[in-house]
């Protein structure tokens, strides 16, 4: 029997039980229109468990962390530091010292770009971007993993290069050898495209980058919420992701870095809680992660994000990924059958994540989104902070549906039916 040889498929998610944890999903948009939330790639909703964890903390242990000697401050510091360890564990990081909290993934990527550009020559040349160096990114990056590197290039005189996109919506690696060279100091790429759903071959690319001595920075914003990710195992050197895309609070992001990297990088933001000694003349800085956490941190948000990790792990990230794979297949197949609709992303037969972007011939995504919204179907329209990617495919924008643990197949069907209605609606005016 072949069945016994197949890897055990994770048990399917009990989506209706899950939805019971997300009060917002019962909301009506108006008297007749229930909410069909298909914009989880922008921000996810939060289960009661996450809200409760924050409230419990705030009504029991809230105090300033790290600075206080009293019992309440110790309870708060414990909660905060346990959250750090919990969140690290979620992405395979055993040492909490490697996890620094930022306000979002964007800040984490900026911190890396600023620290790598700091001219201080006491750290290894390999970790200092300066004139003549190259920074490599890809044409599918979110602005958050593009503009900070452009700015680093501007500040330092380094050159920004990028891996182009191929017709099949994956990276075109044909010229990789001439793009990734001894001159490349940093290679920053996304794990999953937030538009195409493309999953990049990160481990392979990271090892190629390490051969030429480049540092590898991963934008893990769209992978960590949707599949099991072990950052150290991927072989990258640093990574960034955001709490609000993985059922956690806004206002918290994660910067992960290997010990030797963080130990050498200078701070970017400075102030309280990240110092060792301060005189009016001179300041020395604390070890990581404190060095990267100036000022009062996102305390209750860290607690909330740890609860989100608990929630996701209780479901099982493999089950989450399988669930979203099913939704993605249904959406891609259903949409592709509609006249004039073209899905902008790889075939469902490839490894492909659950951002389903599409174009309706002759119709601007804003108009498409407006009609879908009138039916309660909430999708994202525009360039999704990946303008160069859209230019590459000659598109002003796309309409994107994206999913999470609480998304149902009925919602996918509402999207497909909705697109049918969009097509009919505009046909009236032809």
């Amino acid at each position: 029997m072949t069945l016994s040889q197949a890897p055990a498929a994770p048990a399917p998610l009990d989506v209706s039980a899950i939805r019971g944890d997300f009060p917002i999903l019962d909301r009506m948009l108006d008297a007749e229109t229930p909410l069909v939330y298909l914009d989880s790639g922008a921000t996810s909703q939060r289960p009661r468990q996450v809200l409760d964890a924050e409230i419990d903390f705030l009504t029991r242990d809230n105090a300033a962390v790290k600075r206080g000697a009293h019992r309440l401050a110790e309870a708060a510091t414990d909660a905060f530091e346990s959250a750090r360890a919990r969140i690290g564990a979620f992405v395979g990081v055993a040492r909490p010292e490697q996890i620094a909290f930022t306000k979002n993934a964007t800040e984490a990527l900026n911190v890396l770009a600023y620290a790598l550009g700091d001219p201080d020559s006491s750290r290894s040349d390999q970790l200092r971007v300066s004139e003549g160096d190259e920074i490599l990114i890809t044409e599918m990056e979110h602005h958050a993993n593009l503009v900070p590197w452009q700015e680093l290039a501007r500040r330092t005189g380094a050159t920004l290069r990028w891996i182009p996109l191929a017709e099949d919506y994956t990276l075109d690696l044909t010229d990789l050898d001439s793009l990734l060279t001894e001159r490349t100091k940093v290679f920053a790429l996304t794990h999953q495209s937030n538009v195409l759903g493309t999953v990049n071959p990160v481990a392979e690319l990271a090892s190629r980058a390490h051969e030429v001595g480049a540092l590898v920075v991963l934008d893990a914003c769209q992978s960590v919420p949707h599949m099991s990710v072990d950052l150290p195992a991927l072989g990258v050197d640093a990574a960034a992701f955001s709490g609000h895309k993985m059922l956690g609070p806004t206002g918290i992001g994660v910067l992960w870095g290997r010990d030797d990297l963080l130990a050498q990088l200078p701070p970017v933001m400075t102030g309280g809680s990240m110092i060792e000694t301060v005189t009016m003349e001179r300041t020395t800085f604390a070890e990581p992660p404190a060095r990267f956490e100036a000022g009062t941190p996102m305390i209750s948000q860290a607690v909330g994000l740890a609860a989100a990790c608990d929630y996701l792990d209780a479901l099982g990230m493999d089950a989450v990924a399988a669930h979203e794979r099913g939704l993605t297949r249904r959406a891609v197949e259903g949409l592709s059958q509609l006249p004039g609709v073209r899905v902008i992303g790889p075939e469902v037969t490839t490894e492909r994540a659950g951002a389903v972007s599409f174009d309706l011939a002759g119709r601007h995504p804003h108009d498409v989104g407006q009609v879908l919204d009138s039916r309660g179907v909430e999708v994202r329209v525009g360039h999704h902070c990946a303008w160069p990617l859209h230019r590459r495919y000659g598109l002003a924008g796309t309409t994107r549906a994206s999913f999470s643990v609480y998304t149902t197949t009925a919602e996918i069907d509402a999207l497909i039916d909705g697109m049918g209605a969009v097509i009919d609606f505009f046909a009236r005016f032809e």
Partner: protein, 154 residues
């Protein structure tokens, strides 16, 4: 939700057959405006006639990509403003601006803004207000530039 207040026949008429579209010579100013949230863009050229005291909009030519609302708005605007003095045009732009920011609480006056009353459905959708107003903002920037280029500062 009532889509018909937003997508009227007039809007689609202008969307399909935009008036004054294309980029033409002569012009004193060319501006490029974008709506960063949705990526809509307009390149707009303005050609003034008349004199420093009473400039006349001789031509507005443009190249616009965007949603139906934004394209219709550019078409309606150019048709409304061409052939009039800039001071005649001022109350038109002001009235539309007020209506568009009133969230549907204020009705547009067809006497003043003509076909642009067809755009007012967007006022109920704060996100669409920007679509409608992008071309009007472009006209305003172009006017400042054109006056500067002609030495006709206001």
């Amino acid at each position: 939700m009532d889509l018909s207040s937003l997508y009227t026949d007039i809007v689609f008429e202008h969307d399909k057959r935009p008036l004054h579209a294309g980029l033409r010579e002569p012009f004193e100013a060319e501006v490029h405006h974008v709506n960063p949230t949705c990526g809509d863009e307009i390149t707009l050229r303005l050609h003034l006639g008349g004199d420093a005291d009473a400039p006349v909009v001789e031509d507005i030519s443009y190249d616009a990509t965007g949603c139906a609302m934004s394209r219709a708005s550019a078409s309606i605007m150019s048709d409304l403003l061409i052939g009039h003095t800039t001071s005649e045009n001022e109350p038109v732009a002001e009235h539309l601006d007020r209506v568009m920011h009133a969230r549907g609480e204020e009705q547009g006056d067809e006497e003043i803004i003509g076909d642009a009353v067809a755009l007012q459905g967007a006022a109920k959708f704060p996100n669409r207000v920007k679509c409608v107003l992008m071309s009007w903002k472009a006209y305003q920037s172009a006017l400042i530039e054109a006056r500067g280029a002609l030495g006709w500062s206001a």
